[in-house]
Structure formats: C-alpha cells, structure tokens
C-alpha cells in the first residue's frame, strides 16, 4: 500500500461522514453485474460473463466497495475471486489519489462482523492496517471466539500477558493467559498458554480442551506380513469381546489390556503398550458417553496407518505407511450419539524402513471436536484406573 495513505485518509474519513458519495450509482446495474459474477462456478462455467461483469465493476469507484464486499461474503470462492479482482483494482486506484475517500466506517464494521466469511474480512482488515493502523489491535481482543481472527486474537492476548508478567503484574498475566488458553484452538497456542499458566502456578488440561481419547482397551499384536494388515480383517472387526483371548503374532496369546496414555497430546505409544514389533496389527477400543447427539469431527493420525469404526460404521480409513503420527493429519465427520458410543481403531505396523536408522514407531492419536477444534462433549465410559 502507498506510504502516507493513513494521513491522507484521515481527512477523507471526516469528509465522508458528512458528504454523500461523489458519484451516484445506478443500483440496478451494479446489482445485475454482481448477480452475473455470482453464477461463476464449477467447470469454468460463467467465466466469460463474470469477466465482462468484473471488468465493468472495476471501472466504478469506492462507492461500490460495500456492495462488492457483501457479494464477497459467499462460500463460492470462484465468484469471490472475480469480485476481489474488481475490488483490488478499485482500491489500488483510490489509494493512489492525493486524498483517498475509503468508506472507513463501513470497512471497520465489515471487518469485525463475525457472521461474514473470513477471507474478505481479513482482506479488509489488511486495508484498514494502512488506513487506520491502530484499529487491528483495538478489535482483536473482542474477537477471541471469531472463526477468522481467533488465532490473531489469542496471539495478541498472549503477548499482552507476557508484557504484564514482565512488568510484575502476575494477576493480569494470569487473566490474559487463561483467556488465551480458553479460546485457543491451535496446538502451538494451547501448549504456549499452558506453559505460561504453569509458570504462574495454574494447571490446565489440554486433553480436555482438545477432546483426545486417552483411555483405551488395546489388543495386539496380530501377525500381518509385509503390508497385508490394512486389508486383512481380524476378529475385533467382527465383534469386540473384551474378555476374549486370541492367538497373536508368533503364536503368542494376546488379550485386551486397559491403557491410559499420559502423553500431553493424547498419543498412544503401541510399542510401549503392546510390543516392539514389525509387520503387525493392533486394535484400540474405547467407549464414550455423550449427553446428547452431536455432529462432530473425528481428527486423528497414526503410524503406520489406521481405520476407524464408530458404532459399527467405518468412518475413516487411510492406507499410507511410514508417515509418523501427526496431530489432526486426517479428519472425517462423525456422529456421537446420546448414551454409549463404541469406538474401534485398527492401527497397522509395516516393515522396517529401508533405512535402518528410521526408528520403530507404532502409535495412535485421536480426538473428537467441533469445527473449531474444541473438544466434543463426551466422557470415557471405560473404568477409571488402568490395569
């Protein structure tokens, strides 16, 4: 953005508050052009018409920015980009003027309107950074629950807490860190807030905040030569009988064992919990109690791979091998039902990597959460104490 834009806009903001826009617009024509662009969609459909309409919109001035921005508030990213193309041209042209006349009050209202799509709001806030530089920090603390700006807001509040602590105001720092922890959804921010809270004597629980399943019955290892385990079906896939015993890899007798992971992010180390084996299959079984039906997200990862059944329905299967367990690598929609839910996970373990230095990993990480990443409402129905 052009240097000095802020100063040149200050006068214009005052002017705009009292003076009607300079060039009256024909509402119908703009609406028609916006409607044409809205039809752009899959397979390049509507591109010719959208381009023509966008070109005509580009020739207009800042007076159409509010309508362009409202049009951008669409899940249709193709149409949104056509609108944006016109928006960027209009903004650049206006910014180059000696006294730009951006509709700052509207832009500010648009940027903080949590009901709108995040991408145009972020774009507008970037413009406001040039027009009214203090505005971002003034609104971010009010956007801790905002889908688009949550992360920015949490980062700001963490910084505010750090500054308070550095000045010796521990009480204020605690308040800031607690607010950050409550609203954070990204793991880096959650662990950062946790560490800060621990340092000022406050304990919090990331597991509960993120919705990890940490209490499992584990069974294995079943024999699975090479990479055959993914496609092979083993007894738990027919029915789960916690009291049953099976013949496992190398003829060993195996049975379900209750296990509670102590990992900070709910990762289950099957090498430790089951056995340090290769070319094997293990199962994890949990029961979850819910107070009501919930449409949630399953988020999970495993090394080497996993298949997930919820209440008997396969809801996720990923075949890839040797990828390491990464937080939220895979996601799928899931329905947690009121009452007891039965969760079965199959975790495959492939052969040793060609490089013998690659460590032997066999692990699982799984959680249920809402779209923002906050824990779904459930509790383990398995016994409290691990055997």
């Amino acid at each position: 953005m052009i240097a000095g834009l802020y100063l040149r806009v200050c006068a214009a903001v005052v002017l705009l508050a009292h003076v009607p826009v300079a060039s009256p617009i024909q509402a119908d024509e703009i609406d028609e052009l916006i409607a044409v662009v809205a039809k752009a969609g899959p397979q390049g459909a509507g591109s010719v018409e959208a381009r023509r309409a966008s070109t005509l919109l580009t020739k207009r001035g800042v007076e159409i920015l509010p309508r362009l921005l409202r049009a951008m508030d669409t899940p249709n990213v193709v149409a949104a980009n056509w609108y944006r193309s016109a928006y960027e041209s209009i903004v650049a042209r206006e910014a180059a003027k000696p006294a730009p006349e951006f509709p700052v009050p509207f832009l500010q209202e648009f940027a903080r309107d949590s009901k709108r799509q995040g991408r145009p709001r972020r774009m507008v806030l970037s413009l406001l950074d040039e027009l009214t530089p203090a505005y971002r920090d003034s609104i971010l603390p009010t956007l801790l629950d905002d889908a688009e700006f949550r992360s920015d807001a949490v980062a700001l509040v963490l910084r505010q807490g750090d500054r308070a602590k550095a000045k010796g105001d521990v009480k204020k720092a605690k308040t800031k860190f607690q607010a950050a922890f409550k609203h954070a959804r990204e793991v880096g921010q959650l662990t950062g807030a946790t560490d800060r809270l621990n340092a000022v004597g406050v304990n919090v629980n990331i597991i509960e905040q993120m919705g990890f399943v940490t209490r499992w019955y584990l069974l294995g290892p079943f024999d699975a030569p090479g990479r055959s385990g993914f496609d092979e079906s083993y007894p738990p896939e027919k029915s789960v009988d916690i009291s049953a015993g099976y013949t496992g890899k190398d003829g060993t007798k195996i049975q379900w064992m209750l296990s509670q992971t102590g990992d900070r992010l709910g990762q289950v180390d099957l090498i430790q919990a089951i056995a340090p084996v290769k070319e094997a299959v293990g199962y994890a079984y949990a029961e979850l109690n819910c107070r009501q039906d919930q449409n949630v997200q399953l988020r999970c990862g495993a090394d080497d791979n996993l298949t997930v059944w919820l209440n008997g329905e396969k809801i996720l299967a990923r075949r890839q091998w040797l990828n390491g367990t990464r937080l939220d690598r895979f996601a799928a929609p899931a329905l947690l039902q009121r009452g007891k839910n039965k969760l079965l996970v199959k975790i495959c373990q492939g052969p040793q990597h060609k490089n013998p230095a690659v460590p032997n990993n066999w692990s699982l990480q799984l959680r249920f959460c809402d779209e923002t990443g906050y824990a779904a409402d459930f509790e383990s129905a398995l016994p409290e104490a691990a055997r």
Binding site: S54, V78, Q320
Partner: protein, 412 residues
C-alpha cells in the same frame, strides 16, 4: 580428460553465435528437461557481483520463475493459512512489477515450514495465457497482461487436498489442454482442462495412488507423432494417452511417495524416486505392465527424494537431498562419477549444453562442466539467502528465486 573437455568448450564457443534466446515457459523449462539450448550463461556471481537486478517478492513460494519474452511470472502465498495467493508478473529487463493478481485459495493444507507452501507448483505459459496452480486446490488462467480468464476450484469440485507438505505438482500444457496431477491422501486424480474454457476435457481417477508431489511429463513415442503422458506416484510410473486420459502402461519400481519429474532423451524416459529407490530408463510405447519388458536399465546410486534429475548429452546427473552428486551414463546406467557437494538440496539442477548448475539450500551454486566424464567444478557462487526454488535460464540470464527475492544473474 581435461583436454577433451576443453575441446568441447572451444567447439561450443565457435558455435556460440548460434545460441538461441529461449523462453523458460514452465516447470523445468524447455521440454521440462531443465536444459536450456542457450550458451554463455553466467557461471560466476556473488551477493554483490553479477546480479543485474533483484526484486522483492511478497509472501512465500518455492515455485520457479517462468519467463516468456520480456515477462517473468511467479507465484507466492501468504496469510496465516497461506491461502492468500499471488500471481506476479515482473519485467525481465529490470525486475519491476508489471502486475499482480491477489486471489483466495479454496482449501489450504499443511505445509513444510521452509520447503513448501501453497505456492509450490510452478506456473506455465504459452505466451498468451498463464496457468497457475496452487496447493489450495485452485487452478487459474490469466491473460499475460494479468486479466483473470477463469478459475477452477478443484478442491470445491473434487474434494479438498490432503497433503502434509502441500501439493507441488506443476501443471503441464499439451495441445489446448492444461494437465494437473492431484495425488494426495484423499481421492487422487489427474485432470486435463480446456485452456480456453476451464472445463474438464478428461479426468482419470487414481484410486491406488496416495500422496506424491511429482509433476506430469509428456514424451514423444518414437517417430509415430504420438505422445504419452507420464505420471509418477505410489511405487510406479504410468503412461497415459494425453488425449483421453486412458492408461496405457505401468512400470513398477519407484518409491511410495514420488517427487522428481521424469526427463526424456535418447528415446528413453528417465524416472527416479528416493530415498532408497532407483533411477529407471524406460522405453515408451508399451501396453499393460511393462516392468519386465521396457526397463532398459536401473541404478540405485545417488537417488534423491526431492530434486529432479537432469540429462545433458549422454550423461544423466542426480544430486540427492544430502548433496551426493552422481553422474550416470544415460545409455547403460553405469556410474561415471560420484562426488559429495556442499549443503543440502531441494532445488532441482538445471543446465545448458555447457554447464550443470546445482543449487543448495544455503544459497550456494556449484557449477560443473557438462558432458564431461569426470567431475570438473567451474565455480562456486554464494548469495546470502536460502534457495529452495528451482532456478531458470532465459535469454542469456539466470534467474534465482531465494526465500525473499528474485535475482537476475546476467551482464549489465
């Protein structure tokens, strides 16, 4: 041996006046082989010498610069999710920004902290249009003056990409189609899109493929006038009819996750994937599983995970991620030489008939003499910023994208 090399240099100098000024129209330049037919490309420079201009770039990107005439096209991405996309056009003469389009990406994925982002695929141009593909699952067509022509949100239409390092596959132009390979954790596919309308011409599902980052390649089949489309991924390389997307043949022997793009020469396809994998020389023109019948040679030396290989004359050059450079005889796959270079490597080597350029992640370039049966280092040049993007050669200049800038290496 050095005498022979000097003779080659002298011969090249005599014919230097015939050197053509070429465009570098997409990933890996002419024929996607990363070898420019130009001569007298700079071989020495430093942070302060030999750099004609440098231009700051917005955001992040490891896509290569693409050059057509007086225009350079680049892509980048920024924002908390890297879903704010940029398509940039610079002047080849002075690096001045001619235009920039800012767009939204549909569905950003995970990406590597330094080695990838949503602007990893290299754009491609035919001199009239620029086609830019992003890891967000979006394909755009622009006129070369920057006007948007169409936008395909593949992530909206066919499902969001699931990728841990972000998609890097670069689009390929063939006839009036732009072809994109979309191999990921979810439902993989390749799609050929009409350059004029943006509509699908064909789409082939790849249910057995999972995550790969390799780019499609197109090769001629002997003198038949026909071409085959090559896609590497999931333990194999497949040949397709580029007109229909029908699968023609397959050769096993690649790694599960493929990154390098195959090169072509001497009537052979040279495919490689590592680590721990091998290079394969394959005759095109097969049907069905031709793993036993069409593989001319294979060699497991010096196989990279990320950088693509390069073929110059009868020699096939590789550098692996840890800097082991290997030269094989392209005719039989036998080792010619092997040498440890400094640094780690993400960018793919490029070359001319005279020299091979290896770019490490620290901003250092090692230039060696091409077509020599021994390792002969010409120069070692350092700039102060990391380099992950594969550079380009065009019209006498070398273009190096660092993590912050585009540098034009060439005479004033």
């Amino acid at each position: 041996m050095k005498t022979v090399c000097n003779f080659i240099v002298l011969t090249a100098a005599i014919h230097g006046a015939l050197a053509r000024a070429e465009n570098w129209a997409g990933w890996r330049g002419p024929n996607r082989n990363a070898v420019s037919p130009e001569k007298n490309i700079p071989t020495t420079w430093s942070e302060n010498e030999g750099v004609r201009w440098r231009s700051q770039l917005p955001g992040a990107g490891i896509s290569s610069p693409v050059i057509w005439g007086e225009r350079i096209f680049l892509t980048s991405s920024d924002g908390p999710k890297q879903d704010n996309l940029h398509v940039i056009c610079l002047s080849r003469r002075d690096g001045r920004e001619l235009w920039r389009q800012r767009l939204w990406g549909t569905s950003p994925t995970r990406y590597h902290a330094t080695k990838s982002n949503m602007a990893s695929p290299t754009p491609v141009t035919d001199g009239k249009h620029v086609f830019a593909f992003f890891g967000t699952g979006d394909l755009f067509c622009f006129e070369i003056d920057g006007h948007l022509v169409w936008h395909r949100s593949l992530a909206s239409e066919y499902g969001r990409f699931e990728n841990r390092f972000a998609a890097t596959s670069s689009p390929l132009l063939h006839g009036d189609m732009v072809i994109v390979q979309c191999d990921h954790y979810g439902d993989s596919y390749a799609v050929a899109v009409d350059q004029n309308t943006g509509a699908d011409r064909w789409k082939v599902e790849r249910p057995d493929e999972w995550l790969s980052w390799s780019s499609p390649q197109i090769v001629p089949v002997g003198d038949t006038g026909k071409h085959e489309l090559l896609l590497c991924g999931s333990l194999k390389i497949d040949g397709f009819d580029p007109q229909t997307g029908s699968k023609l043949w397959t050769v096993g022997g690649l790694q599960q996750e493929c990154i390098p793009t195959p090169v072509f020469g001497h009537g052979l396809i040279y495919a490689v994937s590592g680590p721990g994998g091998k290079s394969l020389a394959i005759r095109p023109g097969g049907h069905g599983d031709v793993s036993d019948s069409h593989v001319v040679w294979e060699n497991s030396r010096g196989v990279p995970f990320v950088p693509s290989a390069i073929l110059v004359g009868d020699l096939y050059y590789l550098v692996d991620d840890d800097g082991i450079a290997t030269c094989l005889d392209a005719r039989d796959g036998k080792r010619v030489w092997q040498k440890r270079l400094a640094g780690r490597y993400t960018a793919s080597a490029i070359g001319t008939g005279e020299h091979i350029y290896f770019f490490n992640e620290d901003g250092e370039t090692i230039v060696i003499r091409a077509k020599c049966n021994n390792f002969e280092q010409i120069s070692r040049n350092r700039i102060n910023e990391p380099v992950f993007a594969s550079p380009a050669i065009s019209q006498g200049d070398l273009f190096i994208r660092t993590t912050k800038e585009l540098l034009c290496i060439g005479p004033d």
